[in-house]
């Protein structure tokens, strides 16, 4: 396979060679529309050999339940990108997802559980 030589300066400007939209196959919105910055995910066993390092970094962070906001903060990824990467990993069943934060809205029993916990802090 013949590769073109790249003379551009994207790498300097953007800090990386592979543009981020390539990493997520040009996806601009998560397929899973309920992904929220507080949604938690956890790594599942599976074949990770073909993954780009950005995906691997997420999986190794998610040995325990971790929210999208936390993943973004720890790995220094912008939120929108974190969501897309998580979305791809969910489709590959390499991540499992918790209930979406936004729905159903918080019920009374959950609020009472939270209250008891806060009072015990």
């Amino acid at each position: 396979m013949i590769r073109d030589t790249w003379y551009g300066d994207d790498e300097q400007e953007a800090g990386r060679f592979v543009p981020l939209y390539v990493l997520v196959n040009g996806r601009t919105r998560p397929q899973n529309a309920s992904l929220d910055l507080a949604t938690q995910v956890i790594a599942m066993p599976g074949d990770t050999r073909a993954l780009e390092p950005e995906y691997e970094a997420i999986l190794s962070r998610c040995w325990t339940w971790m929210s999208i906001a936390e993943i973004g903060a720890y790995l220094n990824y912008p939120l929108a990108l974190t969501k897309l990467l998580v979305d791809v990993l969910l489709e590959q069943r390499l991540l499992s997802v918790g209930s979406p934060a936004e729905e159903p809205s918080v019920d009374r029993a959950t609020l009472e559980t939270i209250l008891v916990r806060l009072e015990s802090l």
Binding site: Q31, N32, D36, L37, A38, T39, Q40, I42, M44, W65, S67, A69, E70, G72, A73, Y74, N76, P78, L79, A80, T82, L90, E91, R93, L95, S96, V97, G98, S99, P100, A101, E102, E103, P104, S105, V106, D107, R108, A109, T110, L111, E112, T113, I114, L115, R117, L118, E119, L121
Partner: protein
Amino acid sequence: MNNEEVLVAVGRKSVKVVVAGGFGTGKTTLVGSVSEIPPLTTEEVLTQASVGVDDLDGIEHKTTTTVALDFGRITINADIVLYIFGTPGQDRFWFMWDELAQGAIGAIVLVDTRRLDTSFPAIDYFERRQIPFVAAVNMFFGERLYSEDEIRAALKLSPAAPLVWFDARDRGSSKQALISLVQHAISQMPVSTRSSV
């Protein structure tokens, strides 16, 4: 691939509380006081176009803006984690508020009595959307210069919204502000709510 094939752990749940208020009112301090981990910062990178500029002249000079969100967490039990998000300081990032507020238990709106006007946009935002909130006066210097009535009047706060005094630097005090919000959120629920299970 369709959504049914995504692995969902139904019991695992995140809940959110939003901490809002003007720049320098102590949002990050409050988050840090109650969080079980050091506060984290996550960033959203925006192109200027999505920030809502008035004209497209000079789009070739499109620049990016970074919006930082500070947040913390409190583990409630084996299944539930409470995330506490501070809103971006600049009012122009309203669209970020929408994601933060969606499904949130409610909000703590920080009030600085020396600059009451910095709290107006947040109060207005949560009132319009009928999201439960408490107005929390942060006593930076232990001052209590105005009465509750004076502050309520100045903020045009509805009688239903609680007003509390607290010190964002103090864990116990910040915890009380959070408790006031959760109690208020419970009180705002319809009386005859039955458990859905």
